[in-house]
Symmetry: C2
Subunit: 200 residues, 2 copies
Amino acid sequence: MEPKRPNATAASLLGFLHSGAKTGWELVATAEHVIGDFWSLTRSQVYRELAAMDAAGLVSAGKTGPRERRPYELTAAGRKAFREWLATEPAQEQIRYPLLLTISFGHHLPATVLAEFVAAHRERHVARLEVYRTARAEAGDDADAYAIATLDFGLRYEEAVLDWFDHLSPTIAGETDEPAPVTSATQREGRPPGARRRER
Amino acid sequence: MEPKRPNATAASLLGFLHSGAKTGWELVATAEHVIGDFWSLTRSQVYRELAAMDAAGLVSAGKTGPRERRPYELTAAGRKAFREWLATEPAQEQIRYPLLLTISFGHHLPATVLAEFVAAHRERHVARLEVYRTARAEAGDDADAYAIATLDFGLRYEEAVLDWFDHLSPTIAGETDEPAPVTSATQREGRPPGARRRER
DNA sequence: ATTAGACATTCCACTGTGGACTGTCAAGGA
DNA sequence: TCCTTGACAGTCCACAGTGGAATGTCTAAT
């Protein structure tokens, strides 16, 4: 039961527990806020890892409070495991971009539909860039250098993506005269809408 | 057994099967080559999805040839399922970047170790950018607009990441006088770490 | 004839995702 | 006061994705 190195997600939880005991719920909130922009994790996962780390002695569960609330605190072994994980070479990043998949197969799709997808995604990136810009402005330059660095990554990424959108060929982005329909009528489930009868 | 919409990975396989029957092995190779830069998939997954789609009637397995080689071909139902999938709004992209996790917890780590990690990752991105640039140059402008678009995404992404690396605070990137402590395996490629001023 | 290496599939353990379900407590309105 | 709403808190499950081990086959070169 001793060894078993934590995975990156579990290790992050150990990291957050350095500032005191936390419940699974709190850890989810913290993680979403602090590393959520580049490291996704879910409730299910957090509770699963906490249970596993409890069994492995890396954390220890306190007694359950109101609403089944159960705080976990770091053990000495947990602290050690965290340091060891942190000192191992981080893996390559992973990107999975469904829109690029759709574009890849774009010749099977009516140009207008593809253009709508592209426009919708572009809008989301516009919004996200805005969020990053204000966050960055609020952070100033005197904030934690580590936090600034990760924020800057998000900023540059969104700028690059937006730049990419703005240089897409008209074949994909659609003809540029029209502002592109933002409220997309494209369904999410079921068959293509009967209304749209264009061929490619 | 009829419905069951394919997931994005399965649907991609259907997409590749439009150009004729292929084995799992060939599909892995094709996928890695064509969409591998923004959509990861593994052997295990491909064989699993093929078996499931065979059971669902979206593909049909041919007879096994030499070396257990088993080709699958698209059925009419598979072609239909592919079109339906393609016409659904693609989901948001997902990014998981372990290096940013390490940076987030950077205050728990000796600065020199962090700087090494950063330098190693930077080198990998330098190499990848180079790969994209030559691929892009070879593709020219007369190639398939859809392929160009996905390639351009990779290109802009790598440029942005590299730019980010080159603007990291010295707290994280290490002191810049010395070309950064490169631990073996990180050299190769056009510019050795000494040339890190501004360029590009 | 042997062997190295590419080809080809299967199986497994673990990790990650997202939704459904259950229940608890606090605050505000009827 | 009671009742509803919504935030809080955790469990469970099916499916998707990752990576490695194991197994075997065929070709080409020694």
